[in-house]
Amino acid sequence: MSEHIVAGVDIGSTTAKAVVLKNGEYLLGKIQSTGSNPARAGQEVLESTITDTGYDPSRLEYTVVTGYGRVSASFADKTVTEITCHGRGAHFVSPDIKTVIDIGGQDSKVISVDSSGRVVDFVINDKCASGTGRFLESAAQLVLHVPLEDLGKLSAGATAVCKISSMCTVFAQTEIISLLAAGESKENIIAGLHSSIAGRVSTMANRLGVKPVVIMTGGVAKNSGVKYALEQELGTSIIIPADIDPQLIGALGAALIAEDMLKAKTVT
């Protein structure tokens, strides 16, 4: 097949991501915020990514869109759920992956994949913010006044893990205020938050059965403190994608599926 590019777009509730593949190889990926118009955000991030590759947008032969905003993306050739896409994308990072843990802004998922990256089972927590990025965000930004990207570094400096007993995001904020007033250090509180979120996610993961190799994807994967806490809970080490931003795994999986669809089309 001649040179061709395909794309995967992951329109999440907070961020929209796009990944472009050339001849099935990873070329480029970008992230932008979704804002209030998911379809437009998806279109924008896709166009922006292609522009940055230097290729003409007319060379784009197939686009798969995933994420919560996929339903409104009219530019999609096909839509696929983020579960299948995360499974596929993770498998591309490392074919040994059997368990994918995706902690996103609004929900968290655990996905079991087989040796070819196909989804075998999955579980989603979409009811409660306490196992998601929202939990950290609200605490970090509203109460601790710490940028999200510093959380991991700060928790590494903790002298103890300060237990947060509130299971609810809103009550946890109140609890943090009391802890700060009582003289607890920010580092210890952040370690406690990481431990809470890891506890929630690992409960979900254990319901599925955690098989190594385990990978984390999604925005929260960039938080080394959560990774560490999860490793403690699950008793196994966890990979974070290194060559590609963990937030792009969904879009990567979508792009790989786009590549498959294109090949299938060409063959028939």
Binding site: S165, T203, N206, R207
Partner: protein, 407 residues
């Protein structure tokens, strides 16, 4: 010193230190099945309101695992994560915490015992208990035996009792296989006689609470009720513990040594109904706010009347079981319970619902309406969950309720 004295939950509670013989109750409350089974008999687990007589008639030892596991694990040791273990075993996260903790605890075998077998009264109440036993039986690979109590309907007495007797006879046969001991007319009569001793004791405690003085604290009364459901470590020994306590409390009345309750001149007399609560501190809170617990219907079904000791024991047992208040439809149940409530002379009623429970909370509206209609006293409805969850909210409601009814 008892098994629970060092536990975090216990140390949050305020107990009546002057009541010396209460140690006997505490020893029974916090001990797990292994400790309580000193005689090496076969342990048969059961649900709280299922009558223990059949198990004792077969020479076994009944074990109310839902109450005991939850008290030890959740209330005292504060191992709340066992609820998650219950969900992992297959229960819904929406189940009530009594069942979740029980299954979580037994499935993980935290107390180091697997009950000999599980027999539950699968009569006219509680889906969640039934399902908990089903799930646990799968998990632990232990046999579960469901026996059934037909619904109470005056028009159906003849065939309902016939059915129940057949169920009981088959239950006895199954129990015999577990314990190796046959249930005979004599052993059943003896079990009934011993159970009646406990019933008299529980009625005696209620009578003590009828006094104008506060002779017995609400938390103590609650614990006394909680340990009554399986007669552990055996009806004789339990009766001894209760007797000593009854004597000491009666003595207080005579010597006028009553423990203080609050600064209020007259405490608001409160009768408790609904689900049992895991928030034991609530019993302290009621007193701190100026209330006095004068009774509760949580275990009333177990001692609402004596089982007749004249005539065929099987017939008497069947009739008594069929007429247990918990087996009646709500309207009839409350109307049958009201005479008991009146005897305690309450000024108000507090109805508790446990989050996730559906049986009793489902009828709470009806209970509230009937009590108000027939007794014309104020009723407060509260909801409680695992210990230490949202307790400020409940405290606030109780305080406001007592205040507004004390003036």
């Amino acid at each position: 010193m008892t098994a629970i004295s060092n536990s975090p939950g216990y140390n949050r509670l305020v107990l009546d230190k002057e009541l010396k013989s209460f140690d006997g109750v505490l020893a029974l409350l916090g001990a797990d099945a292994c400790t309580l089974n000193q005689t090496g008999k076969k342990l048969v687990a059961k649900s709280p309101l299922s009558p223990p007589e059949p198990v004792y008639a077969a020479g076994g030892l009944a074990y109310d695992s839902s109450t005991r596991e939850t008290i030890i694990q959740a209330v005292m040791q504060e191992n709340f994560n066992l609820a998650n273990a219950g969900v992992d075993a297959g229960l819904s996260p929406e189940f009530n915490p009594w069942n979740l903790i029980m299954v979580g605890s037994l499935a993980g075998n935290s107390t180091g015992i697997a009950p000999a077998g599980a027999a539950i009264a699968c009569g006219c109440w509680d889906d969640q208990h039934k399902k908990s036993w089903q799930v646990l039986s799968d998990c632990l690979n232990i046999p579960v035996y469901f026996w059934e109590i037909p619904r109470y309907d005056a028009d159906s007495e003849i065939w309902a009792l016939r059915f129940l007797k057949a169920e009981l006879e088959q239950l006895f046969k199954w129990l015999e296989c577990q314990t190796g001991q046959k249930v005979t007319r004599e052993s059943l009569a003896e079990a009934i006689r011993q159970g009646n001793m406990i019933r008299r004791d529980l009625a005696a405690f209620d009578e003590l609470l009828q006094s104008g003085n506060r002779l017995l604290g609400g938390l103590e009364y609650y614990m006394i009720q909680l340990i009554s459901s399986d007669y552990l470590p055996g009806p004789g020994r339990l009766h001894e513990v209760y007797s000593r306590l009854i004597d000491e409390v009666r003595h207080r009345d005579q010597e006028k040594q009553v423990p203080p309750v609050s600064n209020k001149a007259k405490a608001l007399r409160i009768y408790l109904m609904g689900d049992e609560t895991q928030q034991f501190q609530l019993l302290n809170t009621i007193e701190d706010c100026g209330g006095q617990v004068v009774g509760a219907d949580f275990r009333l079904a177990l001692y609402y009347e004596l089982i007749s000791e004249e005539g065929p024991p099987l017939d008497n047992l069947a009739r008594w079981i069929w007429k247990m208040p918990c087996n009646m439809p709500t309207g009839e149940r409350i109307r049958a319970t009201i005479p008991f409530i009146r005897r305690q002379k309450p000024d108000a009623v507090i109805i508790n619902s446990t989050t996730g429970s559906r049986n009793l909370p489902g009828s709470e509206r009806m209970v509230r309406d009937i009590i108000k209609q027939q007794m014309d006293i104020p009723v407060l409805s509260i909801e409680t969950s695992l210990p230490r969850q949202d307790t400020e909210k409940t405290e606030y409601l109780v305080r406001a309720f007592i205040e507004m009814n004390s003036y």
